[in-house]
């Protein structure tokens, strides 16, 4: 059995996840236009081979180490812990990766795969710009052409990342359809891929999209959880009680959750963006308030109306501003293995400020959602309990949004 299909204990039955067509229970699959199907089948075959190839894995590990700067530290947030007066809080410092977020783990893996497949052109969608920057970075590193699709609204609110992508040599294509955010960027990237499928590799940035993307991105990102496991054992002599990660599409969360999936005593918590509040309708909490449907190549929880039209999502954090979620999260939710909660803009901003002032770490607004939930529950937990927050990215890109809100004075 390859790592492709991991046994998951479910009651008394062992299930292979995903199945050979990319299904996680009822979720996932490959709902794609015929023009893309052969490319997806080719990609799956190439990925299966690469995954088993020791040379590929060795090279990937070397780039993670020497280029991305792994392993990233696990840091005990002493002052935050003392301030909250409850459970011990650790931070997995994915913000310290090269390019400033966990996204580089996946783009390095996929670019190596693209190179192996003989593709010389990368395209990607981006919301906050972190995945766009990480893709532009590996394109420069491997001498590939690069085109990034980004919603106009996101281009406006994440300007520093747009500059970075351009400096790195990528072409940034503004997308104006819909609400001009991540969903629309992904639509346009898929259209572009259909049109240039023979020479182009589409680097999806999250654990969503048609099979094999969800499983592939999860596997590339699971280095986060493997390191975390080793580090916490060394520091505390045991596994944590709880892992907390923010969820847009869900790649940083899958990355840290996955190696812990069979450690039943570790509670897994995914934090969605509640935006201005779930009841206002302006949010991005697909699991908390969406229903199952099909978008962007997979079946999963989606924000949509009664006729199956997809709603525009909203969050202050551009990287969470997506009306869907990776299919494996849908599965973890339905089986009860992971718990999903939602945190509002205002709570995320408070957490952003608190972590900055308390620990000298400015988190990405996305990651601040995970911090916010930890701050909510830690005070009520016993001091012996251990919480690990996946600090998926750094917040330099969000400084302007924060200042404009009148914070940070």
């Amino acid at each position: 059995m390859g790592v492709f299909q991991q046994p998951v204990r479910e009651g008394n039955t062992m299930q292979k996840l995903p199945d050979n067509k990319g299904h996680f229970g009822i979720f996932g699959g490959r709902y794609a236009a015929e023009t893309l199907m052969p490319a997806l089948i080719e990609l799956e075959a190439a990925y299966r081979q690469a995954h088993k190839d020791k040379r590929f894995q060795k090279e990937f590990a070397a780039y993670l180490r020497e280029y991305a700067g792994r392993e990233t530290p696990l840091f005990y947030a002493r002052r935050l812990t003392e301030k909250l007066g409850g459970a011990k809080i650790y931070l997995k410092r994915e913000d310290l990766n090269h390019t400033g977020s966990h996204k580089i783990n996946n783009t390095l893996g996929q670019a190596l795969l693209a190179r192996r497949m003989g593709k010389k052109r990368l395209i990607a969608e981006t919301g906050a710009g972190q995945h766009g920057v990480a893709t532009a970075t590996v394109a420069a590193l491997f001498g590939m052409e690069c085109r990034i699709f980004m919603g106009e609204e996101d281009i406006r609110r994440q300007a520093p990342n747009v500059f970075r992508m351009k400096i790195l040599g990528a072409e940034v294509v503004p997308v104006s359809s819909g609400t001009a955010t991540l969903k629309d960027a992904m639509n346009e990237a898929m259209r572009q891929w259909v049109s240039r499928v023979r020479d182009t590799y589409y680097v999806i940035g999250t654990t969503a999209g048609p099979h094999p993307y969800p499983v592939m991105v999860r596997n590339f990102q699971s280095v986060i959880g493997r390191e975390t496991k080793k580090q916490i054992r060394k520091m505390e002599g045991r596994l944590p009680d709880m892992l907390i990660a923010c969820i847009g599409g869900g790649s940083n969360a899958m990355g840290i959750f996955y190696p812990f999936r069979n450690d039943r005593n570790v509670v897994l918590i995914g934090v969605e963006a509640a935006g201005r509040g779930i009841t206002t309708g302006e949010h991005a909490a697909s699991i908390s308030s969406g229903r199952v449907g099909v978008l962007h190549g997979n079946k999963t929880y989606l924000l949509q109306d009664k006729n199956g039209q997809i709603h525009d999502a909203y969050s202050i954090a551009a990287g969470l501003d997506y009306p869907g979620v990776g299919p494996e999260h849908g599965y973890l939710h339905d089986t009860g293995r992971a718990r999903y909660v939602a945190v509002k803009d205002s709570e995320a901003v408070d957490a952003f400020m608190a972590l900055s002032r308390c620990e000298g770490i400015i988190p990405a607004l996305e990651s601040a959602h995970a911090v916010a939930y930890a701050m909510k529950i830690a005070p009520a937990l016993d001091k012996k309990k251990i919480i690990i927050i996946n600090l998926s990215g750094r917040g330099d890109k969000d400084a302007e949004v924060i200042v404009k809100r009148g914070e940070g004075k």
Partner: protein
């Protein structure tokens, strides 16, 4: 006898090629779509593809994307579109294929969709993002209802895959003549000929060609190599330009009749 099958059989006898026209339902309004379909029937169009608008049409180019947005902004939805088809069926026998994306059907409910669509007189469905690998969950209802499952074949589909798709398809096969989204490039007749020949070795179903054909001339060039052509974006663009103007329906019907004539002329020449 099923309408689609009967249509291709009759065309074959007449040695004619099918003209299939795509419209986005609800653009500019459902009432207008109804009028347009009846007009197209009178103009000699053989089959209509009724586009069900979706918020995220990832296989469509800018023209049909904009039509879907206009239609949704006007409040169109799948149940209303099915009701419109039911009204059309009182007066017309033109074969109707519902064309769209899976989510609106899935949310309506696959079983209910199959029943209502059949009752209304829908002959076939073409679901762009539901490849053979995933189609069983819908086809267990639509096949039973006797609704044809029209399948797409792309320039990127290999021989083995074409065989698999053709083996499961019904009604007709739709060859995507360009590697791209709808209405964004022009197919080369020679490439289409080679591709259709390859498909014909694997199936006896009619093969039609679409995604990039917009003028009578292009239609006449491509049609001899297949059993029919699909024209969408060209009509949708005319609708966008005319809006709800009075001459919309006559204008569209004239254009359709022009194309049908061009197809017949080419056929005559081809045989002579």
């Amino acid at each position: 006898m099923k309408r689609i099958e009967e249509t291709f059989r009759a065309l074959k006898v007449k040695k004619e090629k099918a003209l299939i026209v795509y419209l986005t339902a609800g653009d500019p309004t459902l009432l207008k779509t109804e009028e347009l379909i009846l007009g197209l029937d009178r103009a000699g169009v053989d089959i209509v593809e009724v586009g069900v608008p979706f918020s995220d049409p990832t296989a469509d180019g800018p023209i049909i994307q904009a039509a879907a947005k206009r239609s949704l902004d006007g409040g169109a939805n799948l149940p209303d579109i099915i009701r419109m088809i039911k009204r059309i069926r009182r007066v017309s026998e033109i074969p109707i294929v519902l064309f769209g994306y899976y989510n609106p059907i899935f949310i309506y409910g696959n079983e209910q969709f199959a029943r209502k669509a059949k009752e209304a007189g829908v002959d076939g469905i073409l679901v762009v993002d539901l490849p053979p690998e995933e189609s069983a969950e819908l086809r267990r209802y639509t096949d039973k209802a006797g609704i044809d499952y029209i399948s797409l074949i792309a320039p990127t589909s290999g021989g083995k895959r074409i065989g698999e798709i053709a083996g499961k398809a019904s009604g007709f096969l739709y060859y995507i003549s360009i590697t791209g989204v709808t209405g964004t490039a022009t197919p080369q007749a020679e490439n289409v000929r080679t591709a259709v020949e390859r498909i014909r070795k694997l199936t006896t179903l009619p093969v039609v060609v679409g995604f990039g054909i917009s003028t009578p001339r292009q239609a006449a060039e491509i049609a001899p190599h297949a059993d029919g052509v699909v024209i969408g974006s060209a009509f949708v663009r005319m609708i966008a330009e005319a809006g709800n103007a009075k001459d919309l329906v006559p204008g569209i019907c004239r254009y359709a009749a022009d194309i049908k004539r061009a197809l017949k002329r080419r056929q005559t020449h081809g045989n002579g």
